[in-house]
Amino acid sequence: MNVSGGGGHKKGPKKVRGKKMSTRVDLTAMVDLGFLLITFFMLATTFNKPKTMEVNKPAKEKDDDKLKEPPIKMSKTASLMLGARDKLYAYVSPDEIDATTELTIDSIDYSPNGLRKFIQRRQREVKEQWGDQDLLFVMIKPLPGSNVKNIVDVLDEMTINDVKRYAILEANDPIDSLIALKTGQKRK
């Protein structure tokens, strides 16, 4: 800094003068780093977000409500019973049970080949019989031993196959207890 003006400094024969350096810095590397971090934070914020799946349970009904509603035709339904150890039993309850009734119970798995095929088959059958595949009503009956993944898988399959009507119910049908008994699953 030279504020005294005019005269200057006369200190020695040779003045050591600091080399004037440019104040400009190459910012390229800094910008690179900046954008790298931006990318990281952008990805971290969007990818970390879990998704949710909405579940609607039927409201707990009082006993007198039960009498008012007519029961659904069983031929419009499909039942899925979720058991322990990733077991899944699928069946269609007959409309009326008598001595000659035959019931097929399929033991299927959660893969597209198992569960999805079953649902799609039922959708076709309901469409043939009732004219509209959206009339299919899927009853999902988890047993205590099944796990959350099983339920999520089944609910997911409902969305994938566009099943309009389904419900999570208790496995308290006589057929359910029969299956549970035959397959050694705990029902309570």
Partner: protein, 201 residues
């Protein structure tokens, strides 16, 4: 013919403005990122094709560990304080200012409500080392602790959405107990938290 000489320009450009923009954006993203809260228990969520992202605010979250232990979390700190006030009167448990402050920042906890004051008195480092036993969902003692939590929280903030985060391997019987408690409090709609997955064809 005279040759047109193109003046040679330097290829170096002024990076200052670009640098400013980059760091401005960086600051924005850093500030808006929410880091995952400390988990009381490790939960491995199942995957689904559901596309609805979880809402940012007003969430009441229940976590169910593989062994059935149940944990509770409210995201909103003022609501947490109001909830504690309600619990304090309902269970006639007085809380000190210190305990209240500890509860305000407490994420994901699960224990019998009676054990709560004692737990809140401990310092955060000790709290992290304790294995929490899970909420008391058993109603045989006449107390409906989980139902009260649901009821009070919803009364203090009626926009609350209920989310359930269950581990893949959590058995349905634990899940069902929670759903029964929710339904007893007339909550018939709730969200299951899953991670994203593409549909297999």
């Amino acid at each position: 013919m005279p040759k047109v000489k193109i003046p040679r320009k330097s290829t170096a450009i002024d990076m200052t403005a670009m640098c400013d923009v980059a760091f401005l954006l960086l600051t924005f993203f850093i500030l808006t990122t929410k880091f995952r809260p400390q988990e009381a228990v490790q939960i491995d969520i199942p995957a689904s094709t559901a596309q609805i992202p979880i809402p940012d605010r007003d969430i009441m979250m229940f976590q169910i560990a593989p062994d059935g232990r149940l944990f509770f979390n409210l995201d909103d700190q003022p609501t947490r304080l109001k909830l504690l006030e309600r619990l304090s009167t309902a269970y006639s448990m007085p809380f000190t200012a210190q305990q209240k402050d500890a509860f305000r920042t407490l994420e994901n906890w699960g224990m019998d409500l009676r054990a709560l004051p004692d737990f809140l008195s401990k310092d955060p480092a000790t709290r992290a080392t304790i294995t929490q036993p899970g909420l008391n969902i058993d109603t045989t003692g006449g107390e409906h602790q989980v139902e009260d939590l649901i009821l009070f929280s919803r009364q203090e903030n009626n926009n609350l959405r209920i989310a359930i985060k269950g581990d893949k391997t959590t058995e349905y019987r634990y899940f069902d107990k929670l759903i029964q408690a929710l339904q007893n409090r007339k909550v018939n709609k709730f969200n299951l938290i899953t991670s994203a997955r593409a549909a297999k064809e």
